[in-house]
């Protein structure tokens, strides 16, 4: 009888232990994934921790709020109202004003390679319209007279544009969204997350196994292949943004025209680069929801694509901003700045040659 009692006890203990094992799952292991189509791209929020579901849906709400606030096509948006104000000053609010100030800073820092007033030129190429077309030189020359930071006046929370000038904050909207989401993750004590906003990503914390997140840089030569990478970044607490001409383009008369317009010429940037990835640390102490590192990465990835390899590396060496670069060139080279070299993994099957610069 004692033996049966012992066997029964052993069985109960085992079942009990099994139960314990389910209970001992760390709250950090709880994971929520949601996918959202917004800002003309697909976004994937993967967060861990007790508040992962809450943080994911707050992030979605925030992205939707920014989409309607910053849209260039929604007649109700502040940006639309400013663009159609015919030169009159309107109250755009503290947030939009702050973004416009940040945009102006990057315009001046990059000597106009990034410029939110390029919007009418981009529209002339049809990238924000239904049909693409090649505008005439005369049309471009006329539109370019309305491009430049001197056509924007900011005073308090009000803004005014030179009549005819239009702005599009699309070049920093996703970067700013990543800054806002970083604050949501911080406020909800999210231990780890991957936030993917099209070409903008935020690697928050590390992987559950303690290793850095692995972020593949799409191979510009094989843009639709889900398994083709120009390299792999190993990131912990970092923002990364890629700009590439292959992302949106059209063909006319046997020529390919992509969507990153050089504000100096009005034509798609022809700088010898096929993609630019800007990487910068996300310092948790400085995350406060204002336009910061995510916004910077977004603006600089566009600007440095326009500048080309030499000028982009000079800009990086100037030390004005703290970031690193992965440049992919038309002649099949991948150039990595030395600050990120240890966190970069070459893609052996890609056929690229790799170089680290300092």
């Amino acid at each position: 009888m004692k033996r049966f009692a012992a066997a029964l006890l052993a069985a109960l203990m085992t079942v009990g232990l099994c139960g314990c094992s389910w209970q001992t799952e760390s709250p950090d292991e709880a994971r929520e994934v949601i996918q959202v189509i917004a800002m003309d791209t697909v976004m994937i929020f993967t967060t861990y921790g007790e508040k992962s579901t809450h943080a994911d849906y707050l992030s979605e709400d925030e992205v939707r709020r920014l989409e309607s606030l910053l849209s260039r096509t929604d007649g109700e948006s502040v940006i639309c109202q400013l663009n159609s104000a015919g030169g009159l000053g309107i109250d755009v609010g503290e947030e939009v004003c702050g973004l416009m100030e940040a945009a102006e800073e990057y315009t001046l820092a990059t000597e106009g390679a990034f410029d939110i007033t390029i919007a009418p030129v981009v529209a002339a190429w049809g990238f924000t319209e239904k049909e693409n077309r090649v505008p005439s030189q005369k049309e471009l020359d006329e539109l370019l007279t309305l491009v430049g930071p001197e056509h924007i006046t900011l005073a308090g929370d009000a803004a005014a544009l030179t009549p005819g000038t239009q702005i599009d904050l699309g070049g920093i909207a996703k970067g700013y969204a990543s800054d806002r989401i970083a604050e949501i993750l911080k406020e909800n004590s999210i231990p780890r997350a991957t936030i993917s906003l099209g070409g903008n990503v935020l690697a928050w914390g590390d992987r559950p196994d303690g290793t850095p997140w692995r972020v593949g840089i799409q191979d510009p030569q094989d843009p639709n292949n889900a398994n083709a990478f120009a390299g792999m970044l190993h990131l912990t607490d970092a923002f990364a943004v890629t700009s590439g001409g292959y992302q949106r383009f059209f063909e006319a008369d046997g020529k390919t025209y992509h969507h990153i317009i050089d504000p100096a010429t009005g034509y798609p940037a022809d700088s010898g680069l096929t993609s630019v990835t800007v990487v910068a640390d996300c310092d948790l102490d400085e995350v406060d929801g204002t336009p910061s590192v995510g916004t910077m990465c977004d603006a600089l990835s566009t600007a440095l694509f326009v500048m080309g390899e030499e000028k982009a590396l000079d800009f990086w060496r100037s030390g004005k901003y703290d970031f690193d670069l992965v440049l992919v060139t038309e002649d099949s080279r991948v150039v990595v700045t030395d600050g990120i070299a240890d966190e970069f993994e070459e893609s052996k099957e890609s056929g690229y040659s790799y170089e680290v610069v300092s």
Binding site: R3, A6, A7, A10, A11, T14, L17, C18, S21, V33, Q35, V36, I37, D40, T41, V42, I44, T46, T194, S196, G199, N200, V201, A203, R207, D209, T211, W213, R214, V215, G216, I217, Q218, D219, P220, P223, N224, N225, A226, F229, A230, M232, A240, V241, T242, G244, Y246, Q247, S275, T277
Partner: protein, 140 residues
């Protein structure tokens, strides 16, 4: 020292030990298999922000499914095992204007997605064997 006959191990004692060992092994197996996050590869299909279907690849009926959204239709097909990669999914044809979903080709591991922005359809793979070298995110 001579042991008492009552303390001498017998067949029943052996059975008790065996039972404990078997239960312990079963317990360990349950915990380990859960820890790897294993499970069969599952396609999660979202149409206009709402999860429309969650379907195991091994149960993919007749190797083809049709999904519609925003006035466009996608024909999604099951790709047979591609060497070591295992089965996957691809959009065989679609009537959307961009055709990005068709050009994406075959997705075959957890985390990969096929996206059709005009149709507002996302097909994402979850579960399956965890490949530690696979990217967690792709930029570009």
């Amino acid at each position: 020292m001579k042991s008492s006959p009552k303390l001498r191990p017998c067949l029943w004692d052996g059975l008790v030990v065996l039972l404990v060992v078997v239960l312990a092994a079963a317990c360990a197996l349950a915990v380990w298999s859960r820890g790897t996050g294993a499970g069969d590869l599952t396609a999660v299909v979202t149409v206009d922000g709402t999860e429309a279907e969650r379907i195991l690849l091994k149960n993919f009926p007749d190797g083809e499914r049709t999904y519609s959204g925003n006035g466009y239709t996608l024909h999604v097909c099951l790709a047979d095992s591609q060497g070591a990669k295992g089965p996957g999914l691809y959009v065989a044809d679609a009537d959307c204007p961009t055709q990005d979903c068709v050009h994406t080709g075959t997705i075959s591991r957890a985390g990969q997605s096929i996206v059709c922005l005009p149709a507002r359809i996302i097909i994402r793979l979850e579960g399956g064997t965890v490949d530690k070298d696979a990217p967690d995110m792709v930029i570009g």
